[in-house]
């Protein structure tokens, strides 16, 4: 089976090191993971995220349908606003995490993971029976670029037909980017301020508009030191921000309460939703394990699948679900699941790094970095 490509494939092929990800041929880096990571933390970087799943949901029942599918409360959205949420199966396991935007009262736009494109769309279709809603998979018709970093706003504004500084987090607006019809949402997957832009009429066969915006961004951001970024930096940035990667940190056997995503489960919203009953029961009973952040206190890089042990090194207590080297903190960091009693910040743990029980401790992880210095909440000097 041949790998899928995005609208920006030509650029990636010429400038990047390509790998397979979720069935797509994608750049893992252009210059290198560390310089790209640092460009986003300190200035601005752009990512091709056109491999992600995107769907339009339209009709009189669109809102009611989405509110039945996801755990967060779509009915609380004003037009032009979006929210982060998960959708669960009947057991309360996470089918995917996603963003739902309400464009108008009857038109919604949904963005979900590349690795779940088919599974999710089938899930939406299967559960849409009985609702007056039309679902369109527009993943291959609309290109998607993430513009991220403290200089993302200034970069994007240079090519935008409308000012963007008044756009709130999770707000989505229509604009033209270097003359091309688009939407810009103030969201991202890096912990930094920034936008995810959707470029209309950019199909795989006619990708010119996507390439035009991509190149215009590189030119607009030149004065700030913009870098095109690959999936490597995308992963290291989201890990530092403590954001979940589907398939690593969350999956159908993990529920949002143990994943510390309780805040996106709205038990009190006006309508029922898939998994509600199971999640209520889990809430009553209490969860046994929790997602935590771990920082190494001695040399070593924790990786996905490595065992987490208690501080004395006496017993295995969990498994790392995402781990790696943090370029910002210059230390190994990880997320994983451990029993409740180990959740407290400062609790010593060990990571089994190829047979050596290296010391680490439980830390604040959402994000791992100092929020006054990095990330969208940072205090600008």
């Amino acid at each position: 089976m041949s790998l899928k490509k995005t609208q920006l494939y030509q650029y990636h092929k010429e400038h990047g090191r390509l790998i397979e990800f979720a069935g797509f041929e994608m750049p893992v880096w252009f210059e290198g993971i560390i310089p790209e990571h640092n460009a986003v933390r300190n200035a601005v970087g752009i990512f091709d995220t056109s491999h992600m799943g995107r769907m339009r949901a339209e009709g009189p029942d669109a809102e009611r349908f989405l509110n039945y599918i996801v755990t967060n409360d779509v009915s609380a959205l004003e037009p032009g606003r979006g929210l982060y949420t998960v959708m669960c199966n009947e057991r309360g396991g996470i089918v995917d995490d996603l963003i739902v935007y309400k464009l108008t009262p009857e038109r919604f736009f949904v963005v979900y993971n590349a690795s779940n494109r088919e599974k999710d769309f089938n899930w939406f279709l299967r559960h849409s029976e009985g609702f007056d809603v039309e679902l369109h998979d527009v993943s291959d018709e609309i290109a998607m670029i993430a513009v991220q970093g403290p200089r993302a706003l200034r970069t994007l504004e240079k090519i935008s037909s409308r000012p963007l500084s008044d756009v709130d987090r999770f707000q989505i607006v229509e604009t033209r980017l270097s003359g091309v019809e688009a939407m810009a949402a103030r969201t991202g997957y890096t912990g930094e301020d920034g936008f995810e832009v959707f470029i209309f009429d950019a199909t795989l066969e006619r990708p010119e508009k996507a390439l035009q915006v991509w190149n215009a961004l590189l030119e607009a951001g030149e004065e700030f030191g913009i870098k095109p970024c690959g999936l490597g930096a995308r992963d290291s940035l989201r890990l530092e921000a403590g954001l979940c990667l589907y398939g690593n940190d969350i999956d159908e056997n993990i529920n949002p309460l143990e994943a510390r995503l309780r805040w996106v489960v709205k038990f009190k919203k006006p309508s029922d939703f898939i998994g509600r009953e199971a999640l209520l029961r889990i809430k009553e009973e209490g969860v046994k394990r929790l997602r935590v952040g771990i920082m190494m206190e001695e040399r070593g890089i924790p990786r996905k699948g490595y065992e987490i042990w208690d501080g004395e090194g006496e017993e295995k207590i969990g498994v790392v679900t995402s781990g790696g080297y943090s370029p910002t903190l210059n230390v190994g960091i990880a997320m994983g699941y451990v029993p409740r009693e180990y959740r407290k910040i400062g609790t010593p743990v060990r990571i089994n790094i190829r047979g050596r029980l290296a010391r680490g401790k439980i830390v604040k992880f959402h994000p791992f970095y100092d929020e006054t210095k990095y990330g969208w909440r940072r205090v600008e000097a």
Binding site: G16, W29, G32, I34, P327, G332
Partner: protein, 135 residues
């Protein structure tokens, strides 16, 4: 992306991309090749063997990690580790910048050098080996 890989003459090579240099005093120096460092890219962490350790040819004697990947380092020959490049602990990027020079990993006293050298590749053979990996 086509890339050029440095393969100095006079060194010996393993299939796993370690190089070996025979020193005048009969000891050997080893490290990872330019090809290995380019495949890993951005090396951020190194684990070195213990000085004094006796190892067999192709034993794992260390680990090299990039942001994305973990790679074992194998001993090209049997013998004793007599010195390790501790500078790499704080400056693992030397493995990227100068894999055959400042990025050396260990100095060893070999046990069966003549027999072990027969198992290793010459620069010419190693060039063909990495070319084959790319086609």
């Amino acid at each position: 992306m086509s890339e050029e890989y440095k393969v100095p003459e006079g060194l010996y090579y393993t299939e796993e991309h370690e190089w070996l240099k025979v020193l005048d005093d009969g000891n050997v120096l080893m490290g990872i090749t330019d090809y290995a460092q380019k495949q890993l890219h951005e090396i951020v962490y190194v684990e070195l063997p213990e000085v004094g350790k006796d190892v067999e040819r192709m034993d794992t004697i260390g680990t090299v990690e990039s942001v994305k990947a973990v790679s074992d380092v194998y001993s090209p020959v049997s013998g004793t580790i007599i010195e390790v490049n501790e500078t790499l602990l704080d400056s693992p990027e030397l493995l990227n910048e100068d894999p055959y020079g400042e990025g050396w990993i260990a100095k060893m006293k070999p046990k069966n050098l003549d027999a072990d050298l027969k198992e290793l590749m010459t620069a010419e053979e190693y060039k063909k080996h990495i070319e084959a990996l790319h086609h």
